[in-house]
């Protein structure tokens, strides 16, 4: 993994066989990301896991064990109690030129990924949404 940071924008380059989430977490930690927005993410994945909401608190996770073009990666990352919470969605293209898309829950880099994260100090966390069982974006109260 390589990165550069300028004016709150973190530009990442990930390399072959890196675990996507491990590398993202490492970059966020080293760049002191409090809240981050994924402005852009392209490249290729060796394999990926997408998760689909089924019902209250339950996701079905589907592994795509094949090379996939990372057409688009968007979402957010929040630092919460020392841990990074990612909420990323991806559009992935298969060799057949079909696209699959969903909540990205795992991925391994193939050749390269180029990912841009915009840093922010907006105080946000994820808390359980009782209605859906999902960990929803919640704004922390400003400290007086």
């Amino acid at each position: 993994m390589e990165y550069r940071e300028d004016k709150g924008l973190v530009m990442l380059r990930l390399h072959q066989d890196e675990d996507l989430f491990e590398s993202l977490e490492k970059a966020c930690r080293e760049c002191n990301v409090r809240t981050g927005v994924f402005v852009s993410g392209i490249g290729m994945l060796k394999q990926a896991e997408l998760s689909f909401y089924v019902k209250y608190g339950k996701y079905a996770t589907v592994l795509f064990p094949e090379p996939l073009e990372l057409v688009s990666l968007t979402g957010t990352v929040l630092l919460q109690e020392g841990e990074y919470k990612f909420h990323l969605h991806a559009v992935l293209a298969k060799a057949t030129k079909e696209a699959v898309a969903g909540h990205l829950s795992g991925g391994k880099v193939n050749v390269t990924n180029e990912i841009m994260i915009l840093k922010s100090d907006i105080p946000a966390v994820r808390t359980l949404d009782e209605a859906t069982g999902l960990m929803a974006l919640t704004f922390e109260q400003e400290k007086a």
């Binding site: 689909f52 089924v54 996770t61 795509f64």
Partner: protein, 163 residues
Amino acid sequence: MLVALTVNGEARQADVPSATTLVELLREHLALTGTKVGCGHGECGACTVLLDGEPVNSCLVFAAQCDGREVTTVEGLSRDGELDRIQNAFVDAGAVQCGFCTPGMIMSAAALLASNPAPSRNEIEEAVSGNLCRCTGYVKIVDAVEQAASESSREAKQQTERS
């Protein structure tokens, strides 16, 4: 991955590759070939089945999403070898030519009549608007669903009168 679900009222399970679609699970692993694959992209509706009672394009649903859920296919409509009222209405109305779209049409109609037993012609047309037919021109299909609905109403009325 092991997927356990209820298909046509029967508990079924299958060990399938993770990215298996529902229609692949039904046709290739559970040998339920009544559900057809037309476009494979959710445009033609030939693969329509009911998932927890709602019509879905089974080519667009992953098997993993159906774990613990209930699926009804066209095979699940008949009882003791007898066609159900919608299937009979399709036969009576001549709403079938090549027959490839028919299972999907019938499942969309079944979903409609379950929630709206007396639909208008417009509501029938809306309900099957996601099911493409290249043979019939749709008129007889809508006729068939209308006929099935009126038979249901008549049966319901007779039952009320008897009780």
